[in-house]
Symmetry: C2
Subunit: 422 residues, 2 copies
Amino acid sequence: MSPDGESRAACAARDAADPLAPLRDQFVLPDGVVYLDGNSLGPLPRATADHVRDLIEHEWGNGLIRSWNTAGWMDAPQRVGDMIATLIGAAAGEVIVADSTSVNLFKVLTAALGYVRGVDARRRVVVSDIGNFPSDLYIASGVAEAAGFELRAVRRVDIESSLDETVAVLLLTQVDYRTGALHDLAGVTAKAHRHGVLTVWDLAHSAGAIDLDLAAADADFAVGCGYKYLNGGPGAPAFVWVNRRLVDSVDQPLHGWIGHADPFAFSSAYSAAGGIAGFQCGTPAVLSLAALECGVATVVAAAPFGGMAALRAKSIRLSELFLRLVAPVCDGFGLEVISPADPRLRGSQVSLTHPTRGYEIVQALIDRGVIGDFRAPDVLRFGFTPLYTREVDVWDAVEHLRVVLHDELWRDSRWAERGAVT
Amino acid sequence: MSPDGESRAACAARDAADPLAPLRDQFVLPDGVVYLDGNSLGPLPRATADHVRDLIEHEWGNGLIRSWNTAGWMDAPQRVGDMIATLIGAAAGEVIVADSTSVNLFKVLTAALGYVRGVDARRRVVVSDIGNFPSDLYIASGVAEAAGFELRAVRRVDIESSLDETVAVLLLTQVDYRTGALHDLAGVTAKAHRHGVLTVWDLAHSAGAIDLDLAAADADFAVGCGYKYLNGGPGAPAFVWVNRRLVDSVDQPLHGWIGHADPFAFSSAYSAAGGIAGFQCGTPAVLSLAALECGVATVVAAAPFGGMAALRAKSIRLSELFLRLVAPVCDGFGLEVISPADPRLRGSQVSLTHPTRGYEIVQALIDRGVIGDFRAPDVLRFGFTPLYTREVDVWDAVEHLRVVLHDELWRDSRWAERGAVT
């Protein structure tokens, strides 16, 4: 029993009563593993291996080229996009699966800047968070420079005060990949719009974890990742959403045949497909889309149990439990929580920091079957994915951390030399 | 026996003596099917289903996030790129697998124009073939317009005379997707270079079918497709090659974290990885890469039998046989060959045309198990992929065409109304 009266038995009892508990059976989870890294790579859905094998053996092997038409391959980007739409507050036909998150960000950011240039040439700045995921900053820097805009990456606390009539676009990742800090998507979008600023949201750490309503927020553009909370497998294709009021007024720069209004007319001139279909470029990645479809289905399966709102509530319960349990265990070891304490300001992960030994601690936990991850220079990340994480998993993870800190590393001479408060 | 003394038995005898014949066993080919569409979608390699299943179940399912390091996922783009390099006359480390052909074309064309702008600002034109694959023209048009260049898409016969000191880049697909007409890659590159023009080659219908030597030709940039002659599966990732003398002097515009010199340092500033690694952008598509690796391996497997030169020689034998057999069958039905008669000017496909009924003829052949394809408005394509196509397949395909033309369609009243010479 922990100091505040928690116990593993109490966790197990609450797990047994959890209406979302059966959703865990959708996944293959190795014995002896507590998987707290679904925020980086979702685990394997039970349906995926057979589904992909069936596609390979029957649709590709037997159907060959005919399956482009007979097996729905060409429709997969829109079909899976429609499934994702139900998770992020978008309508059918508004989301398409294509390319990678970074490539999609290139498309929407270029499209957004081209649009702004046409309506208000005084706006020459892209604002982002200096702590944004680096790939987003790389893409934004390249796009801004090529388009003659300035990328202004500011501290998180300075974002709102940076919005004015010189700003074209605010680019943010809703959940910070290191700290788990969560932006209020609707609130920030409203503030941006009051300054005439368009919003581009990266939902990489949100889709499948946070209850989102892009329509209610009236956001402008969004991209997101298929292999984190959507469980699509390593390097799964990404998705892109554009607000209906903008989608036919903007031009994404990757003019490929699959984004053409009539690809099989083989016209030599480009004419973009209407709506989000025009945000495609090359041939759909059929095998990867099949795995992603299985992954997204595991999240859609929560709909009868309350959907994303219920998943979000469970995610908060899990991370609050972790925070309660972990505080006394970390005490005196120089390990500190860097995620926001208020669950309304936190995504589905809790991050700790240690000034020197974060990597070792994460490795020691992995050796004990507790899989989180380390992000340089000093962040230990633990994701609490509500589809398959149980309260007993949280309990066990903290107990393993206790052993790592109090027994294993404490006995390590280098650790002892530094003492507990480095 | 055909008019010129050919017979199915003679074809079968030559097949039995073909040293490349065992390579066919690498594929799952459905019974009763003559597959002549490997130029559009390669068939299923026997190894793929198990390899992908193993990756899904063990590397993803059990290894989870750890497999990024332990299972070689992060190295896959370079590992498969190195395999492709052996097929196209490139060196190890010069080819990377990433994204789609169209996205890669966007990268290299933007990189090429940026480079030319820096060294010779008078060059403002991109020359291409008006008959190039439409997606290439769409990408080129978009890139040229954004960069302030002019895309000049000319007739094939006018390409060489269009090269002068105003031209920055010549963009060509080596094998025409409709006619199968083949550019002499080395010869055209040399002519372009004499005018100071950089070459961008799309090898979509070449890689795995034509014996290529990019190094000997001293070409500048190349992209290619994974799902045609490389048998990587529907929507497989594509590849990109840049000449060593240029690769570190050009900047591709899709600055994503996987193209960074040190992705896991999570630096907020982009610094491109040296060499071809910098032409990556987002997270590698691991599942699709696994299938592509199996597909490329089927072509690499020809190395002990003479490699691409032997495959090319067999491809020519097959298409020459088809041309000899098909001529008397087509005679009087308005079906004509539009592929070059000289095999040195032809890729691994033979195309026919019919002014009005091409689609019906292709459909009738597919109904009989002979799978070619139709490209609007009037082209019937038949690919002769030397890895798995036999002379008896060519014979059987022509016999089916004979039945379709002489018996099935001839009895069709609409066909009869038009007569045989429409």
